[in-house]
């Protein structure tokens, strides 16, 4: 069973690396819609996929955050990627599998995954 002693060990290991994290203010933000509409459409697994995926790939300077309903409920789960100095990219009708692809293509390789972009027509 996990204990707080184990957490202490993690903390001691992390201590030296805290400086890196503080630069996050100006990093990339992944924003997942987590209002009733988003959650009902499946936002939680999408959010978890981003949190775990970013951790597994050891991507730095990326934070995963949440937002409320932006009024496009029919396109949920919606994910916005905000990269410094670039236009916001909005993905619609996301799933955990699509999230993994966005991490691989967009966040690692810098290629927007066009087929998942929101289409407001």
């Amino acid at each position: 069973m996990k204990s707080l002693a184990e957490l202490k060990a993690i903390k001691d290991k992390m201590q030296n690396q805290v400086g890196v994290r503080l630069e996050n203010e100006c990093g990339t933000r992944i924003v997942v819609g987590m209002a009733t509409c988003g959650i009902a459409a499946g936002a939680r697994p999408v959010l978890n996929a981003f949190v775990n995926g970013v951790a597994d790939k050891k991507l730095e300077n990326i934070t995963v955050t949440q937002t409320g309903c932006i009024g496009l409920c029919q396109y949920e789960p919606i994910v916005e990627i905000h990269e410094p100095g670039k236009e916001k990219v909005t993905y619609a009708k996301m799933t955990a599998e699509k999230a993994m692809e966005v991490i691989e293509q967009h966040l690692v390789r810098g290629q927007v995954v066009k087929e998942y972009l929101i289409d407001l027509k």
Partner: protein, 185 residues
């Protein structure tokens, strides 16, 4: 429509987040003898006025300005009442809100609890400025997580640091199994 009680919990807890709560307490009690599953979400956020409290389970009431419906609380209330259960909200303006839903545990219309670990993990990781107390009880056994204990150990190391995030997830998941022996609710 929500497919898991744990998704409703995530949704209802978002109201506490938006109400500016500093502490959110989430209790999940399963009691097989009484055949009840009780979920209590308690916060010290802004609370509601008497008028808001009266309309809060009305799907055509919302405090939002972007649209005219508010379905979260209505869904949740219906989900509990459909299982022969009860639903209650107590709120005091400026003090906080408590939402209590009781489900008939073995009722055929009760949706599964679902991935409660993912719900609690998401809430903790995404709202590091809020303290969470999570109590999970199955019959006589229970476990409690208080994120203030995590903060005391971690100091300024954030919860969404990959190793810490994984620890919190495993901590929730292993303690849950310890308590319920892997029974799927």
């Amino acid at each position: 429509m929500m497919t898991e009680i744990s998704l409703n919990i995530l949704d209802i807890a978002q109201n506490s987040v938006r109400a500016g709560a500093k502490l959110i307490k989430i209790c999940v009690y399963a009691d097989r003898k009484k055949d009840k599953l009780t979920v209590i979400i308690e916060d010290n956020g802004s609370g509601m006025t008497k008028e808001q409290l009266e309309s809060v389970t009305d799907p055509f009431f919302t405090t939002r300005t972007t649209r005219k419906v508010g379905l979260g609380v209505s869904f949740y209330k219906l989900a509990a009442e459909n299982t022969g259960g009860t639903f209650r909200i107590d709120s005091e303006f400026g003090k906080g809100t408590t939402v209590e839903a009781v489900f008939g545990l073995s009722h055929i219309d009760r949706m599964p609890l679902g991935d409660i670990t993912a719900t609690i993990h998401s809430l903790i990781i995404l709202n590091q400025n809020i303290d969470f107390i999570y109590i999970y009880q199955f019959d006589e056994k229970s476990f409690t997580v208080d994120t203030r204990e995590f903060s005391a150990v971690l100091g300024d190391v954030p919860f969404d640091t990959p190793e810490v995030s994984k620890f919190i997830h495993d901590y929730l998941s292993e303690n849950k199994t310890e308590v319920d022996g892997g029974v799927i609710l």
